[in-house]
Amino acid sequence: MADKKINLWLFCIISMMLLGCTKPIDLDQAKDLSLTPVVESSLFFYKGKAGEFFIGGSGAVLETSTVNIAVFDDAFVQDNLVKAEFLFETTNTINRAYSLQVDFLDGLGAIVHSIAIETPASPRGEELLSTHTELFEGNNIQNLKSAKQLEFTLTMLPGIPINEGTFGEINLKSSGTFYLEINP
C-alpha cells in the first residue's frame, strides 16, 4: 500500500518537473532582425575673414583642396549605407557672394557627383545664414560610395572690391546624416 502511494507521488512530482510545455515560438523570425542606426557626424568647416582675401572686384578662385577619402570605401559602409543627407550652413557677413563647389571623384578621377553651395552677399554686414541640403538616395548613394576623393573649390563671385580693412567673415559648417540598414 505504502509503496503504491510512493510511486504515485514520485510519478506526479517527476512528471511535473520534466514535462515543461511550450507555446508556439518562431525562431526563424530572428533572421528578420534589421538595425537601422542613424548617425549624425560633423563634416567640414571653415572660417575666412574678408581682409585675408585681398582681391579686387572680379571673381576669383580663393582656395582649392583635394582630399583622399577612404571612409566610403569601407566594406561596412558599402554594405549598409542606404541613404545620406549632407547639410551645409553658411553664415556670411561680407558684402560679396561666394560659391563653394564640392566634387566627388571616383578612383579614376572622374567626377561622379557635384554640390554647388551658393552664399549670397551681405550688403549691410548682417549675419546671413543660408543652408543647402544634398540628399543621396538611389543612384546618388552609389555615386557617393564610389567616391575616393573630394575636391573643394571656394570662389569669390564678382562684386564690390574688398581690401585688408573690409569687414566681415564667411563661415561654413556642415554635417552628414547617415542612414544605415544592417541585416546581421
Binding site: 508556439p24 560633423s42 568647416f45 571656394l154 556642415s174 554635417s175
Partner: protein, 471 residues
Amino acid sequence: MNIKSAPVFIVFLVTICFSQNKQILYGFSEIPQSLMQNPGGRVSNRAYFGIPLLSHFHINAGHSGGISAYDFLSDNSVDFNTKFRREVNRLKSNDFFTATQQLELFSGGFAFGDSYNKNKYISFGLYQEFDLISYFPKDYVRLALNGNQNSIGRPFRLNDLSLNADILSVFHVGFNKKVNAKFTYGFRGKIYSSVANVNSTRNEGQFLTVRGENNIYRHIFNTNLEARTSGIASLIDDDNSDVSKDIKTLRKRLLFGGNLGLGVDLGFTYKIDDQWTFDASILDFGFISYTKDVKNYQVKGDLVFEGANPLFVETGQTAEEYWTEIEDDFEDLFAVDTLKNTYTRLRPVKLNTSINYAFGKKNKSDCDCRVAESDYQNAVGAQLYAIARPKAPQLALTAYYYRYLFKGIRAKATYTVDSYAFDNIGLGVSAHLRGLNFYIMADNLLKYQNIYDTQSVSLQLGFNYILKNED
C-alpha cells in the same frame, strides 16, 4: 565577434540564461551535496560516494529585467523588429544574464572519530564549473539600433559592457565537526584550475555628440576598454587543427594544469532549541591567478572631433599633413593593443544563511529509528542568498517548506524572490532506496506551462550511494 553578430548574440543570451542560487539544495541534509552549500551543515550519513559523473549535475539559467525569450520570439503577427526594439528598450544597463553549469566528476565523504561518537566528517571531490555573467550593454545596443541622431547631448557609456566567463575545475576537501548537540562547524579548502577565462569588467569612457563651436557637432570620444583572456589564445592561435590535441590540453587543465587559484568555504549550524536552527555559510572566498596563456586587448584613446577644415589649415601644416593627422587620430582611437599582463580575479563569493523551524513529530511507524535524523516531519524556514557580481551583489530570498513524506522520500518546496522573478516556486525530492540516493530539484515550476516565458530555470540532479548512521 563582429558588430553584425552582436544582436543575434544578445538574443541568444536572453534565450539561454542562468544563475548560481541552489535554494532547494541548501539545508537539505539528507543529500550529501548539501555540504557543498554549507560545509558546517548537518551530516546525516556515515559515509557516501557519488556515482562518478552522475552525483551532481546543476544547470541554472536566468536573466533579470522581466523579459523572456517568448517576448521576442512568440509566433504572432507582430513584426520581429518591433518586438525586439520594444523588449530591448525595457532592459536597463544593470540587467544581466547569468549562466552556471556544474558537473561533479567524483565525490565522497566519511565520518571518523571515536567509535562511539563519530562526530567528524571529511568530504572531498572534483567538479567542473562554467559560470557566465553579462550585463546588458544597453548603450552599445542603443547605438547599434538607433545611432546617435536622437542622442545629441546624451552620452553612450562604454562601461555598459561588463562580462565575465569562466570554465574551471575545483578540487576540494572539507572538514565538518559536530562540536556538541547545538553547534556544528565546517570548512572546505578548494584548488581552482581555470580552463579558460574571458573578463571585461573594467571598461570606462563614453562617446558623446554635442553641438559644436566651429562646426554643427562636436564628437567627444573617450575610450578605455579592456578585455582579458586566459586559456583561449593557445586554442585559437595554434597551427594544428588537431581537435584531439586541444581536448588533451583541456583535460590537462581540468586536472590542475590550468591557471591555479585557492579558495575556502566556511559554515556553521547552530541549534537554538529543539525546533529552531540557524545556519550560515560563505562559499568560494578565493581567487584565481591568471598567468599562463594570457592575452589581453586594450583600446584606449581620447579625441574631440568637430570635422575637417579642407580650405584654411591654420596649424602651419600642409593640407596633406593635416588630413593624415586626422586619419591617424581615428586610427589611434580605435587601435587595439595586445598585452600579456597577468591578472588575478576574485571568485564570485557567495553567502547563504537560513533560519529554520521544525514541527510535527513523526509517527513511530514512519521513523527509521536507526537513522540519527530529526524527530520532526516538517520544517519551514527562510533563506537568504547573495553573490558578489561585477556591478552589485545579487540577492535572493527564499521561504521553504520541507516534509518527510514517507520512508525514504523527502521533499522541499521553495518560494523565491530574486532579481529574476517574484513568482519562483521550486520543488526538490530526495529518494532513498536502501543505500542508493537519487535527488532532483527544479525551480520556476509555474512557468513550465510555457518554458520560453520564464526568466530563469534551474535544475539539479544526482545519484549517490549512502551508508547511513546505523550504529
